[in-house]
């Protein structure tokens, strides 16, 4: 193994520890990261912008602080990919869209998202901005205005989405961790498809300040990492109340990293039969059941539970998320930032219309129109209000279940990664990929995906990663990390 390959195999915690101990310099790590990105980014499409200069400069600063004996932070020198939906001061932030680009120049925000600022505060270094489905609307990263990202395990397949670029950065061993955002599964599903760990925290656990809004009542910033402990460390850093986001929770932040060592003895694990019904690929079911067995073997108590409103989650989500999006995306109007299309003699309304039609891709336009429809006069009660009521029923299902179990274990996605191009022409089929991740989003609950045994190779198809989803009660992230670490320790992947 070359020194560079060795560095690429380190997780977040190991990278930080080795830099802190002086076994390797932050600059060496940064150079290895850039070499890995150089070698694979063109093929895999993880990053839409690589911030090489900033990364090297930051790494040298970390090394200098260390040389002076100054405290450097829990993530000092660790390079991270950041989803293009999160604001990064002075650096490309385009949400995978043409609408945030004008005359060839990307929008460069005058501020950092709070999650990004907190990572930097602990010494983490930005390696670049990660590709995504435009405005986080998609499950394959094919809706990016740049290029589709490709699954490192099999580049003819999708890495999932919408945080596909972040997943590829991690699974492709370019950076040991990344930030994504999860509205309906956009961190968990790509984590499952690529074989990394992805966490959707409780809604409000992490500030949304500086996250470009898609559906505010569902959007959550979430960590992705090559191992469970690395994801826990990222969450420890980014979690907590932020005066700039009044919906961020004021609850104290426990150590999620410490929780990784707790074990699962006596934990009650609920297995909802609704998540093992028709549509679930048998090889995914087998891997997930094996992992649940591993939890049981380590002392957890497994019992069946019911989440009867699960089957309404997709419809509920696509009403509520599109309604919120139709309102949130009205800010992209060509006035203050990004694209402006202004035909000669255009009035304001035609400037808006031309800018938005040119700037937004087909899926974004479709969801804006759908959201406008379900909010319009005569349909509000039938669709929007109805979906909000069903959302209550989905929440109640979970409240009921969590009165008798500590967490719920399910598959993260019904299949392993599908082929690029396979579902892009059929929006509804694409939406059904999210069937197992949407309920926790609608209920605002924490959930994570941890890799389990890959689906067996078959013919030309290599063994494809499979994710186990663990869902907890509100602010129950520590229990999820304890269980995920136990699954990881079972060595199934």
């Amino acid at each position: 193994m070359t020194r560079m390959d060795e560095m690429a195999s380190w997780g977040i915690v190991e990278t930080a520890s080795r830099i802190a101990a002086g076994e390797v310099s932050a600059e060496e790590v940064a150079r290895a990261t850039l070499a890995r990105i150089e070698a694979s980014n063109e093929r895999l499409g993880a990053f839409v912008d690589v911030t090489a200069g900033e990364l090297l400069e930051g790494a040298r600063a970390v090394d200098q602080r260390r040389a002076r004996g100054e405290a450097a932070g829990k993530l000092a020198g660790v390079p991270l990919g950041i989803k293009d939906a999160l604001c990064t001061r002075g650096v490309t932030t385009t949400c995978g869209s043409k609408v945030l680009r004008h005359r060839g120049e990307p929008w460069r925000p005058p501020y950092d998202a709070t999650a990004v600022a907190r990572l930097k505060g602990e010494g983490a270094l930005l390696a670049g901005k990660c590709n995504m489905d435009e405005f986080a609307m998609g499950s394959s990263t094919e809706n990016s205005a740049y290029f589709p990202s490709k699954n490192p395990v099999d580049p003819s397949r999708t890495p999932g989405g919408s945080s596909g670029g972040s997943a590829v950065a991690v699974a492709g061993r370019m950076t040991p961790g990344a930030l994504g955002s999860d509205t309906g599964g956009s961190v968990r599903q790509p984590a499952a498809y690529t074989g990394c760990v992805g966490v959707k925290p409780t809604h409000g656990r992490v500030s949304r300040f500086g996250l470009v809004a898609y559906a505010s009542s569902l959007d959550v910033v979430g960590p992705m990492a090559s191992d469970v402990r690395g994801a826990a460390r990222l969450l420890d850093v980014i979690a907590g109340h932020d005066p700039r986001d009044s919906t961020s929770l004021e609850a104290p932040v426990p150590s999620h990293e410490e929780a990784c060592g707790r074990g699962v003895r006596g934990l009650r694990v609920g297995v909802p039969e609704e998540y093992f019904a028709a549509g679930l690929a048998p090889e995914v079911a087998a891997s997930v059941r094996e992992a649940i067995g591993a939890l049981e073997a380590q002392g957890a108590e497994v019992r069946p539970v019911q989440l009867p409103h699960t089957r309404h989650a997709v419809a509920t989500y696509y009403v509520l998320a599109t309604a919120e999006a139709s309102s949130n995306l009205s800010r992209f109007d060509g006035v203050r930032f990004g694209l402006r299309v202004e035909p000669p003699g255009a009035d304001l309304a035609s400037m808006y219309g031309a800018t938005r039609n040119e700037g937004f891709g087909p899926e974004v336009r479709r969801r804006i129109l759908l959201g406008t429809y379900v909010l319009s006069h005569g349909y509000y009660e039938a669709y929007y209000l109805k979906a909000q009521q069903v959302r209550t029923l989905i929440r109640r299902d979970f409240l009921e279940v969590f009165s008798s179990v500590d967490l719920v274990a399910t598959p993260t996605a019904p299949t392993a990664a599908f082929r690029l191009g396979e579902q892009i022409d059929d929006p509804l089929t694409m939406y059904l990929n999210d069937i197992y991740t949407l309920p926790a989003s609608l209920a605002g609950l924490p959930a994570l995906s941890v890799p389990v045994r890959p689906a067996p190779a078959a013919g030309a198809t290599p063994a494809l990663p499979v994710g186990l989803q663990l869902i907890g009660p509100a602010l129950g992230e520590p229990v999820l990390f304890a269980a995920a670490a136990a699954v990881e320790a079972a060595g199934l992947r």
Binding site: H102, P110, V335, E342, G353, L369, A387, Q389, R395, P427
Partner: protein
């Protein structure tokens, strides 16, 4: 109107509300796709929600308030810098007062 009425003309009206100039040639396809999605979403009508409170947002028991203190925001020049058109003091847009 029912979703059967999600005609290309209805989509054109929605597009106007949403400030999207959807080209005439795309209205038919967009209408068909929206009808298919709405057809799926309609299954919600079968759920008994009598007496069920709607959920607009989870987990916020009373929005927290912060002290009302002035603090510096984004400086004007920086805020204007990336606008397609500005005059140094404000954003410039085409005329919008109907004569």
């Amino acid at each position: 109107m029912s979703d059967e009425e999600l005609t290309p003309e209805a989509v054109a009206r929605l597009a106007k509300l949403a400030r999207l100039s959807v080209p005439q040639a795309e209205l038919e396809t967009m209408a068909r796709e929206l009808r298919k999605i709405i057809g799926y979403v309609k299954a919600l009508q079968e759920v008994d929600t009598r007496g069920v409170e709607p959920t607009a947002h989870v987990l916020i028991p009373g929005l927290p308030l912060r002290p009302d203190e002035a603090a510096p925001g984004v400086e004007r020049g920086e805020a204007l810098a990336q606008a397609a058109r500005h005059d140094g003091e404000g954003f410039r847009v085409p005329g919008f007062v109907e004569g």
